[in-house]
């Protein structure tokens, strides 16, 4: 089970804390018992009546020096109580500490493993699952499981110990009464289990509703500019409030059911105490048990009531934890991206060859690219031009294996190696892909630029930034390269982000560079500066540029024109201009301004 996997490295400490928990439970029971027995059997007059003291108590009292001795030297008893209390305090402290050490190790491992797994999941998984939902699973479900392992399991242990101890002593007094008393335990437990199965659906529903509400809030916050620009705050409010109310009602109904469960539990255990009191009285009157035994039995039975009730509650909490475990297991059981067996790390400065590549994102959707074939010679620069949604980016994602090409949908080769046989890390390290919508990590600008490098120094970082025409811009910031960006930092403009992404890629000087419309938010002047610097620094890297600007593409060795997922034209600028095709049409439009 997945929990055991997460428990690696903390299980032993958990067990130690359970041992302390056992000790504390016993000590907690002993202290009050000493006091109670002292009163009932040593000080009280009732003790003088024959048969009012259970046989084992007589023996215990004799061992401690006899009734009279104890009665006259109560300070010894008090000292015993204090000793027990000190011991209990020490053990309780150790219990909490070991438990916390274990729990924190456990939760850390769980978080780390989850994060690691998420990192290793294929990109297609990321696009299929909602961010809000995944985060929900990684945060609140993790907390629920932590609570379960670190607190509820302890309660379970304590509860079971109390029940076992109480039942043990009760059997020693009277078997019939023990049977009557104990018969309630399975009733409550079975009832709890039945109930827990019933309410589980409710918890699942509530959880997914919370996920939905959470996503709505998330979307509203990320799309705040759109909301404002359209003046749609009221709509957003109404939508959120509706979902919120729905979620709330779901929980209120759930709590109602829970309350009914707790109440019926209370009723059952209340009845149990009542029946034992009555039966005990009857047995006493019929002389089946002595007065002392009656008193002892009733007090043990009282010891049973609370744990049995708690058991019901713990079990219902367990159902919540189980839902969470399933939700975490969903992530952990999703298959990670795997390299082919005997994956290779070939030299990447080779020709890139697409052979009859077709791809669709989902079963029901139409093909984004259809039967695409072309070759990019190593060391050349290739431009890709194509309409919106013509599959330009998809081709690059396929090349980078962000999406895996299914069987029978063609092949992509680098040199003579099918990219499916290349180690993913090797493939991606050697393909510098600058995304259309760049992503900044929270951290400083220098950290962002240097993220893919191998402990780069400031000089290298600045060099990359210079090529990306970013150095001057960064220096104009108050904190320069130490400017904090990303989630918590300053907001960069689209063009600045794109240039950061370019610099980021340049750090690793990959043999294949892909610019996926990465200069779209950059003005023409900067665009030109960057390309000029690149051409001086690219060395013999293969460069693939996706763009809508003819001026960006026209000097490429080869230009691939895509139309609705198919290759429409291939050739260099001059050759393409001779043809009466899409390229010429676009060229004519763009050159009109001059």
């Amino acid at each position: 089970m997945i929990i055991l996997y997460f428990l690696e490295g903390s299980l032993l400490i958990f067990l130690i804390s359970v041992i302390f928990s056992v000790i504390v439970t016993f000590l907690d029971m002993i202290g009050p018992k000493i006091i109670q027995y002292t009163i009932d059997f040593c000080i009280a007059d009732t003790a003088l009546n024959e048969g009012s003291v259970p046989a084992y108590m007589e023996r215990l009292i004799e061992k401690a020096g006899g009734r009279v001795f104890l009665k006259e030297n109560l300070v010894y008893v008090a000292a015993a109580v204090i000793t027990v209390a000190l011991l209990a305090a020490l053990c309780r402290y150790l219990l909490k500490l070991t438990n916390s050490i274990a729990a924190e190790r456990f939760v850390r491992r769980m978080r780390d493993k989850l994060f690691e797994h998420i990192m290793e999941l294929p990109f297609s998984w990321h696009s299929e699952n909602h961010t809000g939902d995944i985060i929900q699973r990684c945060t609140s479900d993790v907390d629920t499981i932590k609570m379960f392992v670190s607190e509820q399991l302890h309660s379970l242990v304590r509860t079971v110990i109390r029940i076992v101890v109480a039942v043990y002593f009760m059997i020693g007094i009277n078997k019939t009464m023990t049977l009557i008393s104990a018969v309630f335990i399975p009733v409550i437990v079975l009832y709890s289990c039945f109930f827990h199965n019933k309410i589980r659906v409710g918890f699942e529903q509530a959880d997914s509703e919370e996920g939905r509400l959470s996503s709505t809030a998330q979307e509203n916050l990320t799309g705040v500019r759109v909301v404002r620009a359209f003046g749609r705050e009221k709509y957003e409010r109404d939508r959120f409030e509706k979902q919120n109310s729905h979620y709330t009602d779901l929980w209120i109904r759930l709590i109602k059911i829970l309350a009914a469960f707790w109440a019926s539990n209370d009723l059952i255990s209340g009845l149990q105490v009542m029946i034992i009191t009555v039966v005990g009285a009857v047995f006493c009157v019929k002389d089946t048990i002595t007065v002392g035994e009656y008193i002892a039995f009733v007090s043990y039975n009282a010891m049973l009531t609370w744990p049995v009730r708690a058991l019901g509650r713990i079990i219902s909490e367990m159902s919540k934890a189980r839902v969470s475990i399933d939700r975490i297991a969903y992530i952990m059981n999703s298959e990670v991206e795997k390299d082919a067996e005997n994956a290779v790390e070939p030299d990447m400065n080779r020709d890139i060859r697409f052979e009859n590549v077709s791809y669709r994102y989902d079963e029901g959707l139409s093909e984004v690219v259809e039967n695409v074939s072309f070759t990019i010679k190593a060391g050349t620069t290739v431009g890709i031009l194509g309409g919106t949604g013509s599959g330009k980016s998809t081709l690059m994602y396929l090349l980078d294996r962000l999406y895996k090409l299914p069987e029978g949908c063609g092949k992509i080769y680098i040199g003579d190696t099918d990219i499916a046989d290349i180690k993913a890390s090797h493939l991606r390290k050697n393909i510098g892909l600058v995304l259309q919508e760049p992503f900044l990590f929270s951290g400083t600008l220098s950290e962002n630029i240097g993220i893919a490098g191998n402990n780069p120094n400031m000089k290298e970082i600045r060099e990359a930034a210079k090529i990306a025409a970013l150095d001057d811009t960064i220096l104009s910031f108050n904190k320069g390269y130490d400017t904090y960006v990303g989630e918590r930092g300053v907001t960069l403009s689209g063009g600045q982000k794109q240039r950061t992404a370019i610099a980021q890629m340049l750090m690793s000087k990959p043999p294949i560079m892909v610019f996926d419309d990465s200069l779209s938010a950059v003005d023409t002047e900067t665009d030109m500066k960057i390309r000029k610097a690149l051409s001086e620094n690219a060395g013999n890297s293969t460069v693939i540029i996706i763009s809508h600007r003819i001026t960006t593409l026209m000097h490429a060795d080869n230009i691939i024109v895509l139309d609705k997922g198919r290759v429409a034209q291939i050739g260099n600028h001059d050759k393409l201009l001779e043809q009466d095709g899409i390229y010429k049409k676009i060229y004519d439009i763009q050159m009109q301004g001059i």
Binding site: V81, E104, F230, W251, L254, W262, D523
Partner: protein
């Protein structure tokens, strides 16, 4: 013990929450009363036991047993019903408060200015709305009931003890201030530690967010290991701090429980001696001790509950920091009175927006910046004017637009709309007449139709298709499996950037705004489509005041006014021909853009 703990911290922040508690006051009062009754009944049950002992067992008779059973049963039923109702109420209060706080914070966010969103990340704000609220709900309901149940029981028992024997009770009561001092010391410590833990926790949530939303970038850069390493640093910090905090809370609980055991031992010893000397009856001592024994668990519960409530105060603080943040750009009371607020617009008082815009001596610096990006700026934009803003990346081209939209307010000067200071009318009035197409398009998850109707909820399918046709986006929708009903995915993930730009453009057009703003709205759109859009823009901007921020200068040559921005300042303005004649920066930009053929490419 409760009162002493509240000395430093004003009632767990409950007074702050009062506005939100108020609607539930009747329920809370009922809940509390039932809770007190419940704990009274709890202390009644031992009496039944004693009664059975004294009357049946001791007297060896079963006389009156049926009546005993009936009475016992009735009280049991009352108790059960009482508990049921209390839990049910508790749930209603918890979830109700939770809902109200979530609504309040969400709604407040709808009115906060962009400056707030620039300064706080989405993950952080999200946690305030989704998790702080829940924790506060629990505090006000269940935690409070825990205090009531246990507190009432403690009070009841203490009263019983005082009635029985003041001297003996004193031994127990004397422990209370000692416990209070200990509790206060630890509370202070724990509050600080918990705050730290929460902060790390939200960093971790942020990490998850980054790891998930940035998956594409992380994979293509192959930086999984580095990101993982950073993540593990944070989880390790979390682990260390949490254990450190537990160290204190464990010490705290252990000390307090030990203390109460001491009190018991003391009572046993002294009480036993008092019995010896005949000052008190043995029966009294027995009852007294059994009550004192029963005190241990509730005292422990109260302490645990209090430390939980201490932890929640952090959430109260944070949530209220959000709720009390005032918007930098807010409507004045007079404006709200006349035009209504964000959620209750008084549309009957809204004047039609004509579209004359004037910047009058406007100076502006961003709230987090210290340099003026605009100084004494004056510009008249009559109705229907097409204003183009050009300049280098990051030169501050969006600033003017932000001011027109009132996303920020001028530091000095005024922005006049139809001759009247924009601040004299409600933001919603302005925004309702605005069409803003952003460079990074944002779509909401849902169908294409829902997204397009965003600015005009009552749009018909014909109108929608019309807008799509205008921006040449008809094919995108036709290509999709379910047409207008197709899902666009989270943040429009199922579509390419260019497609998203087209859809958001269509969305803006559909809203039929008086003022249209295109912020590099076509940067990721292919040429053929852009060409078609250019024509669309001409059609759409006719009669409307429009601001176009663009890189491709060819798209703005026909603009009525071109503003050239350099290093955050407007350096040139005029028509294309005039600017070309000036041979300034614009000229340089323009010629260079079309003079690329001579330049040898990579």
């Amino acid at each position: 013990m409760k009162e002493e703990n509240n000395v430093k911290l004003p009632f767990f922040g409950i007074p702050k929450l009062y506005t939100y508690i108020k609607p539930y006051l009747p329920k809370i009062i009922l809940m509390v009363s039932l809770g007190v009754i419940s704990s009274l009944f709890d202390s009644v049950f031992p009496i039944f036991n004693r009664f059975a002992l004294d009357n049946f067992v001791a007297k060896k008779t079963l006389e009156g047993l049926p009546l005993f059973i009936v009475l016992y049963f009735v009280i049991l039923i009352i108790q059960v019903v009482d508990n049921y109702v209390t839990c049910d109420l508790c749930g209603q209060v918890e979830m109700g408060m939770d809902r109200d706080l979530r609504n309040a914070s969400f709604n407040h966010l709808q009115e906060l200015s962009f400056d707030y969103f620039n300064r706080n990340n989405v993950g952080y704000i999200h946690a305030r709305v989704m998790s702080d609220t829940g924790k506060i709900g629990v505090m006000v309901s269940w935690r409070m009931m825990d205090i009531i149940w246990n507190g009432a029981y403690i009070v009841w028992v203490l009263v019983m003890m005082l009635v029985m024997n003041v001297r003996l009770a004193a031994f127990v009561i004397v422990m209370v201030p000692v416990a209070a001092v200990i509790a206060m010391y630890f509370q202070k410590k724990l509050l600080v530690l918990n705050r730290k833990i929460r902060e790390i926790n939200s960093t971790i949530t942020g990490n998850f967010n980054e790891g998930i939303t940035g998956a594409k970038a992380i994979k293509s850069l192959v930086v999984e290991d580095k990101i993982k390493e950073d993540f593990e640093k944070d989880t390790e910090k979390m682990r260390r701090e949490s254990v450190h905090s537990t160290h204190y809370s464990a010490l705290f609980t252990s000390l307090i429980t030990m203390l109460s055991s001491f009190a018991l031992a003391l009572v046993l010893w002294k009480g036993g001696n008092l019995t010896e000397s005949g000052i008190i009856q043995i029966g009294t001592l027995s009852v007294f001790l059994s009550y004192a024994l029963g005190l241990l668990e509730p005292v422990q519960n109260v302490i645990v509950t209090i430390s939980e409530m201490i932890a929640v105060q952090v959430n109260v603080e944070r949530l209220f920091r959000l709720l009390e943040t005032e918007s930098d750009v807010s409507d004045s009371i007079e404006v709200i009175e006349k035009y209504g607020d964000t959620f209750n617009p008084k549309k009957e008082n809204w004047e039609p927006l004509i579209g004359d815009i004037e910047f009058k001596d406007v100076s502006f610096k961003y709230p987090d910046g210290d340099e003026y990006v605009l100084e004494n700026f004056n510009l008249k934009v009559p109705k229907g004017t097409n204003v183009a803003i050009v300049g280098e990346t990051g030169a501050g081209k969006s600033t003017l637009v932000n001011l027109v939209c009132r996303f920020f307010k001028p530091t000095k000067g005024q922005v006049l709309i139809d001759g009247k200071d924009a601040a004299l009318r409600s933001q919603l009035w302005l925004h309702s007449n605005l069409g803003y197409v952003l460079q990074t398009p944002h779509l909401f998850s849902g169908s294409v139709r829902d997204n397009l109707k965003y600015g005009k909820p009552d749009a018909t399918d014909e109108e929608i298709m019309g807008a799509l046709r205008l921006v040449s986006a008809e094919d995108i929708v036709k290509k999709m499996e379910k047409g207008l009903d197709s899902d666009v995915g989270e943040d429009g993930d199922m579509l390419s950037t260019g497609e998203k730009q087209l859809l958001s453009f269509a969305r803006a057009i559909l809203a039929d705004p008086r003022i249209l703003i295109l912020d590099e709205a076509t940067s990721s759109i292919d040429t053929v489509t852009e060409r078609a859009i250019q024509d669309a823009i001409v059609t759409v901007t006719k009669g409307r005041t429009s601001f176009v921020i663009a890189h491709r200068l060819s798209t703005i040559v026909d603009a009525d006014i071109i503003l050239v921005v350099r290093d955050g300042k407007i350096t040139e303005r005029g028509k294309h021909a005039e600017l070309m004649k000036q041979k300034g920066y614009y000229y340089e930009l323009f010629t260079r853009q079309f003079d690329e053929r001579s330049f040898s490419l990579i």
